[in-house]
Subunit: 679 residues, 2 copies
C-alpha cells in the first residue's frame, strides 16, 4: 500500500526519516519490525515486501508493509501493519478464543463479533496490541513458497532453496538473511503498566498484587503466567517465613527442634503447587488457552527428508522418531550422566584440596596458610561458573541435535538436561556436607552463604547488567546521532521509536527466570530442617525479584512476541519432584540431628532408623493423597469447560442433522422420517 | 406399530405365545425386554408402551414396542425393537464413532453412511447387536416427562411424581414399577462366540488369544476391556512364572536368594501396567471411545432440589458439592477408617487367641488341645467372610449416601472404599507375620494357603454357584411348564427365549472380577521376595479364570447392556499403587532375610538399613522414570488422534468462514474483502 519513491529515500540518511516521512509513518502505525541482514540485496527485500502485501490467493499474507532505511543507509527495515478487520479475520483463522457477552469463552468468529464482550463499532480494542502482533507473526510465518518458487530471489546463499509449502520466513532465518524480528512497544500502555506494576507507591501491593491481566494484555500469556507464578510462590513463602522468623527469635536456647517446621514445609510445598494448578487453570480459562491443543508447526531448526506430515497431509520435513530416541538415549543421556559425574569428581577434589589446606593451616598456622585455605573455595567457585556455562552450551547443542519437531518438546528436553545438571552442581556439595561430613553447622553456614550470594548475584545480573547494557546502548545510539536513546520510550518521538528498540537486546523467554526459582526452591525446601530462615531470605529476594524482572521486561529488552500458555509446563513437574526429594533430605537431616534422640529413648538404633523411614513414607503418602484430593481446577472452571464441551457436542449434532436433512431432500425419499424429530 | 388385541392375549397363558404369535414375533425381532412389576396396572403399562412408540415431537422414543403376557398371566412383558434406520439415526445422535473407509475413526453421520467401512445397502451389520440395544437403552432412558405430566398414570405410589424433563424410566425404577430391563441374547452369535472363546480345542490360545473384537461386539467395551486386561496380565505373569519355577527347581540348597527375582518383579509390575495403557488406548481408539468425554446423565439414585444444571441448562435435581464433600470427609472417611481399625483389632485377637491355644497345646499336648489350636483359625475365617459382607453393604450404603451425580464417580468412590478395607482384611495378617512375628516360613506357608484357597473358592464360586443357580432355574422353569430351560439358548425356540432369559441372574458388572485380580496381584507382587511360586499359581488360576469368566458371561447371566469404556478406570491407579507398596514390602523382606547379611559384611547395622532404604528409593525412582518414559499411547494412535484434532479444527474454521461469507452477503459490503481468500 505504501510504496516509497527511490528519490525520496536517497535524501534521508541522517536523520533517519524526514518530517513528512514521520507524518506518514504516524498514520501507518507499525506493529512488527523486520530487519534484514546487510547481506541481503534490494531484490530479496522487495520480493519479501511484495510477498507480505500480496493477497492470500497469491500466496501472500495480505498485510501492509513499508521499507525504511536503517542506520547504514540501506533500506533494510521492514515495518508491517494491518487494518483492524484484517487482524480480526486472522484471529478467527487462528482459533483465538474470546469472552462473549453471555460469559462463555469460545472461539472468536468475525460474524459473531457483536456478541463479544469488548465489541466496539470501530473494532478498536477488540484485540490487545500483543495479540495483533502475534497474529501478524503467525501470518508471516505462514507465508509459504509456491510451486514455482525454488529459490529466494536475489540471494546467492547456497542453502536458500525453497520447495512448495516451505515457510519462507524460517528459511530466511536459517540463511541469516533476516536479522531481527520484533513487535514494537506501545509507549503509553507501557508507561501505565510500569506504574501499576513496580512503582513502590502502593505498599499493600508489596507481595503479589501485580496487574496480571494487564501484563497478559501487553506481554502475552507465557510471561503473565511466569509473573503470576512468582507472585503465588512469594505469597506461599509468607507462612514459612513467619514461622521461621518466630523460631529464630524465640528459640535462643540453641536447640534446633525444627521438626514440626520441616514437616509443615514438606506438606506446604504440595499445597502451594496444587493451589497453583488451580490458579493457573483459572487464568488459562479466562485467557482462552485452557484445553486448547494447537497443532504446532515445526521449529525453525528442524530438518529431515521431505515427506508428508501424517497429521496435516502437507509436505514438510519428516524425521523418524526412532532416530530421535536413539540420539536421546544413546548420545544425550550418557553425556549428561558423564557431565554429572565430572561435577561430582570436581566437588570431591575441592573437598579434598580444602582438607589438605586446612590440615596444613592447622600444622603451620601462618598468614600464608590462612590464605591458602581460601584458595580451593575460590577456584571451585570459578570452576562451577565455567562448568555451568560450558554445560549450558552443550545441553543446547545436544537438544538441537535431537532434532525435535516441536518447540515445546525442544524446551522440555532442554529443561530436563539443565535441571539434572544444576541439581548436582548447586546441591551436591550441600548433600556432601550434610550426609558425608555430617556437619550441621557447616551445612547451615554454607546454605546461608550460597542462598544469599546466589540471590545477590542474580539481582546484580538483573539490575547492574541491564544498566551496563543500557549505557552501552546509549553510547552506541549517541554515536550514530540518536539523542533520545537514554529516555523512556514514551518520551521519544514516535518516528525514532523503532530505531531505539532495534538497539535493545532480545528477551530469550522465561527459561532463566524459572531456573532461578528452581535453585531458590531447592535451597529453601531441601534443608528446611536445619535452616528455617531460608524462607525469609527467599521472600525478601522475591519481593525485589518481581520488580527487577518487571523492570527488565519494560525497560531493557525488546518487546517479545506473546506466546499462548495454559500452564507452566515442565516446570510444574520439576517443582513437584523437588518437593518429594525434600521429604527425603529433611527426614534424613531430622534423623541425624542429636536433638531428636532423647525423644526416642528406649528404642534400638535400628528401630529409630525404621521409625524415620516409616515417617518419611507417611509424609510422601500424605503428599500424594493431597495432590489427588485437591482438584486441579476450581469448580466454576470445570463447569464452564463441561458446558463448552456439551455445547460443541450439541452443535455437532445439529450440523449432522443439517447434513441428513440435505441428503433426505436429494436422495432418499423412501425412508420413513415422519416420526423422527430433533428434540 | 404392533398393537395386540385383548382377545388374542387372553387365550395364551400356557404356553406363553401361540404359534401365530410366535410367527409375528419372529418378524418383530425384539432387542430389549422390559418387565413391569406385578404392582403395575394395565393403565401404566399401556401408557409406557404408547410413550415408547410416540414420536419424538410428542415426547416419545419413536421405537416399536409389543406387550406380551408373563407367566402370571398379566401383560407385564414389554418387548422393544426398532428398524435399522431408526437405530442408525440414534447412533448419530449419541455421537457414536465408526471407522470410515479412509481409515479414520470419527463420529458417525447418517448422511455419510456410505463412507463407513462396514456399509451395506440393507444397512444390516452396520451396528453390532449390542450397540443397537445400547441405543435403545439410551433412547428409553431419555423419555422425559412433558409439562402436563406430573404423575405416572394408573399408579398410586406416593413417590410416582414427575416434573418436566424428569426421566420416566428412572422414576419407574425408583418406584419399583419396573422390575427388569435387559437386552436379549443372540443365540447364533453366542454359540460362535463361545466356540472361539473358551472351547479348549486350540492349545495355542491357552494364554491370551481371546477374540476381543467379537467380545466387544457382543458384550460391549467395558466387558471386552476386562477380558483384554485379564489376558494381558496373564501373559505378563508368564515371565515371573518361568523364573519362579526355575528358582524352585534348581535351588535345592534351601538358600532363598530371591533378591534379583524380587527386584525384577517390582520393575516388571510397572512395565506390565504401562504396556497395558498402550494396549488399552489402542483398543479405545479402534472402538471410538478414546478421548471421548460424554456428558453423563444423573444416576437413577441421585436426588436433590430441582434446579438447573449449569452445563446443559436443563432442569434436573441439583445437589451442592460442599454437602457431598462433607459427607465424604466427615461421615464416610471416618467410618471406613474405623472399620479398618476394627479389622486390625479382630486380627490381633486372632493372633492372641492362637498363641494361647498353642501354648496350651504345648503344655498339655492332648487331642483336645490339638483341636483347640485350630479353633481360632476357623473362627477368624468365618469372621473375615462375615466382616467382608457386612462392610460391602456398608460401603455401598455410604457411597449411595454421598449422592454422586454420575455413575462413574459413584463407582470410583466405591472402589476406593472396598480396596482400602480389603487391603487390610487380606494382607494385614501377612504383614503382621512378616514384620512383627518375622517368621518367614510361616509367612510363606500362610501366603501359599491364602492364595490357593482364595483362588479355589473363587473358581468354585464361578463354576459351582452358577451350576447351582442353573439347576434352580431349570427347576423353576420346569415347574411353570418350560422344558427348554436347561438347554443352551441356540437350542431353544425363539419364542421361548425371552422367558428363559428372564429367569437368568443379572450380571452386576466387572467390579468383582477386578477385585479378585486385585487380591491376586497383591499376593503375587507384595511378597515376591519370599514366595516366587505365587506367580505360577496365579498364572494357572488365570488360564482357568478366563474360561470360567467367559462361561459365566455366556451361559449363566442375562446379557448385560454394553458400556462404553476407554480404559479400566480407577483400577489402573489401584494396581499402580499396589506396585509401589510392593517395593516397600519386598525391600523390607529382603533386608530382613538372613541370607542377605553375608553380602554386606563390614557394614554396621545402621549402614545396612540405610543401604536398603536407598535401594528402595532407587527402585521407586526407576519405576517413576519408566512410567514417564513409556508413552501411554502407541505412536500410530497418537498420530491418528492428532489428525482428528487437526481436521476438526480445520472443519470449524471452514464453518466459521461459511458464517462470515453469509454475513458479508447480508450486512456489510463496505469492508474490503477483495484480497482475503481462504487458503
Amino acid at each position: 500500500m505504501f510504496r516509497r519513491q527511490k528519490a525520496q529515500d536517497e535524501g534521508e540518511k541522517e536523520p533517519l526519516l524526514d518530517e513528512g516521512e514521520a507524518e506518514s509513518l504516524a498514520d501507518f502505525r507499525p506493529l512488527v519490525v523486520l530487519e534484514f541482514s546487510s547481506k541481503t540485496t534490494p531484490v530479496t527485500r522487495e520480493w519479501m515486501k511484495s510477498k507480505i502485501e500480496a493477497s492470500k490467493r497469491q500466496g501472500g499474507a495480505d498485510l501492509n508493509a513499508k521499507l525504511v532505511v536503517a542506520r547504514d543507509g540501506e533500506e533494510r527495515v521492514l515495518l508491517v501493519s494491518a487494518p483492524q478487520e484484517r487482524l480480526l479475520q486472522g484471529a478467527e483463522q487462528m482459533g483465538l478464543k474470546k469472552k462473549y457477552k453471555d460469559g462463555s469463552v469460545r472461539a472468536f468468529t468475525f460474524a459473531e463479533r457483536q456478541n463479544v464482550e469488548d465489541y466496539t463499532e470501530s473494532l478498536e480494542g477488540m484485540l490487545t496490541m500483543s495479540q495483533s502482533q502475534y497474529i501478524i507473526k503467525v501470518e508471516l510465518d505462514n507465508i509459504r513458497a509456491l510451486e514455482a518458487e525454488n529459490h529466494i530471489p536475489g540471494c546467492s546463499h547456497p542453502k536458500a532453496r525453497l520447495y512448495k509449502g516451505k515457510s519462507i520466513l524460517s528459511r530466511m532465518v536459517s540463511c541469516h538473511l533476516l536479522e531481527k524480528m520484533y513487535p514494537v512497544h506501545n509507549p503509553e500502555q507501557l508507561k501505565r503498566l510500569q506504574h501499576d506494576w513496580y512503582h513502590l507507591n502502593k505498599p499493600k501491593q508489596l507481595i503479589g498484587g501485580q496487574p496480571i491481566e494487564t501484563i497478559r494484555g501487553y506481554f502475552g500469556e507465557s510471561v503473565a503466567m511466569y509473573f503470576s507464578f512468582l507472585g503465588h510462590y512469594t505469597k506461599a513463602l509468607l507462612v514459612p517465613t513467619v514461622i521461621g522468623v518466630l523460631y529464630y527469635l524465640f528459640n535462643e536456647s540453641g536447640r534446633n527442634d525444627f521438626v514440626i517446621f520441616a514437616v509443615f514445609n514438606m506438606i506446604w510445598a504440595t499445597v502451594f503447587l496444587e493451589t497453583w494448578k488451580r490458579t493457573s487453570s483459572a487464568h488459562a480459562y479466562n485467557w482462552g488457552t485452557l484445553g486448547r491443543k494447537v497443532f504446532e508447526e515445526p521449529r525453525a531448526g528442524f530438518h529431515g527428508k521431505l515427506g508428508v506430515n501424517p497429521i496435516t497431509g502437507r509436505s514438510e520435513p519428516v524425521y523418524p522418531s526412532w532416530k530421535r530416541l536413539l540420539r536421546i538415549y544413546c548420545v544425550s543421556f550418557p553425556i549428561v550422566i558423564l557431565c554429572m559425574l565430572v561435577a561430582v569428581v570436581v566437588m570431591m577434589i575441592y573437598f579434598w584440596a580444602e582438607n589438605i589446606a586446612k590440615a596444613k593451616h592447622k600444622e603451620e598456622n601462618t598468614m600464608l596458610t590462612q590464605g591458602l585455605v581460601l584458595v580451593p573455595s575460590i577456584i571451585y567457585s570459578v570452576v562451577i561458573i565455567l562448568m555451568n556455562q560450558a554445560y549450558r552450551t552443550l545441553a543446547q547443542y545436544l537438544t538441537k541435535n535431537e532434532n525435535h519437531r516441536e518447540q515445546s518438546a525442544y524446551e522440555n528436553y532442554l529443561i530436563v538436561k539443565l535441571v539434572l545438571f544444576d541439581f548436582v552442581n548447586c546441591f551436591l556439595c550441600l548433600f556432601y556436607i550434610a550426609f558425608v561430613m555430617q556437619d550441621m553447622n557447616y551445612l547451615r553456614q554454607s546454605l546461608a552463604i550460597l542462598l544469599i550470594v546466589q540471590q545477590l548475584v542474580g539481582q546484580l545480573q538483573e539490575t547492574l547488567l541491564p544498566y551496563l547494557l543500557m549505557r552501552k546502548r546509549i553510547k552506541k545510539g549517541e554515536k550514530s546521532g540518536l539523542d533520545h536513546v537514554s529516555k523512556p520510550l514514551h518520551e521519544i518521538p514516535r518516528s525514532k521509536q523503532a530505531e531505539v528498540e532495534s538497539l535493545m537486546d532480545r528477551y530469550e523467554g522465561t527459561f532463566d527466570d524459572y531456573l532461578e526459582l528452581f535453585w531458590q526452591f531447592g535451597y529453601v525446601f531441601l534443608f528446611s530442617a536445619v535452616y528455617p530462615m531460608a524462607a525469609f531470605w527467599a521472600l525478601a529476594n522475591n519481593i525485589m525479584e518481581i520488580r527487577t524482572d518487571a523492570f527488565k521486561m519494560c525497560r531493557i529488552f525488546q518487546r517479545p512476541f506473546m506466546e499462548p500458555a495454559a500452564n507452566i509446563g515442565a516446570w510444574q513437574t520439576v517443582f513437584e519432584v523437588m518437593g518429594f526429594i525434600a521429604v527425603m533430605t529433611n527426614m534424613a537431616l531430622i534423623g541425624m540431628s542429636p536433638e531428636i534422640q532423647p525423644l526416642l529413648e528406649g528404642y534400638t538404633t535400628i528401630q529409630k532408623v525404621l521409625i524415620f523411614v516409616a515417617a518419611e513414607h507417611l509424609i510422601i503418602f500424605i503428599k500424594v493423597v493431597l495432590a489427588f484430593a485437591i482438584p486441579d481446577m476450581p469448580e466454576w472452571v470445570e463447569t464452564q469447560m463441561g458446558r463448552i464441551e456439551y455445547q460443541s457436542t450439541q452443535a455437532l449434532k445439529k450440523q449432522a442433522q443439517l447434513h441428513r436433512t440435505r441428503w433426505m431432500i436429494t436422495s432418499a425419499p423412501s425412508l420413513d422420517y415422519e416420526n423422527y424429530n430433533h428434540s
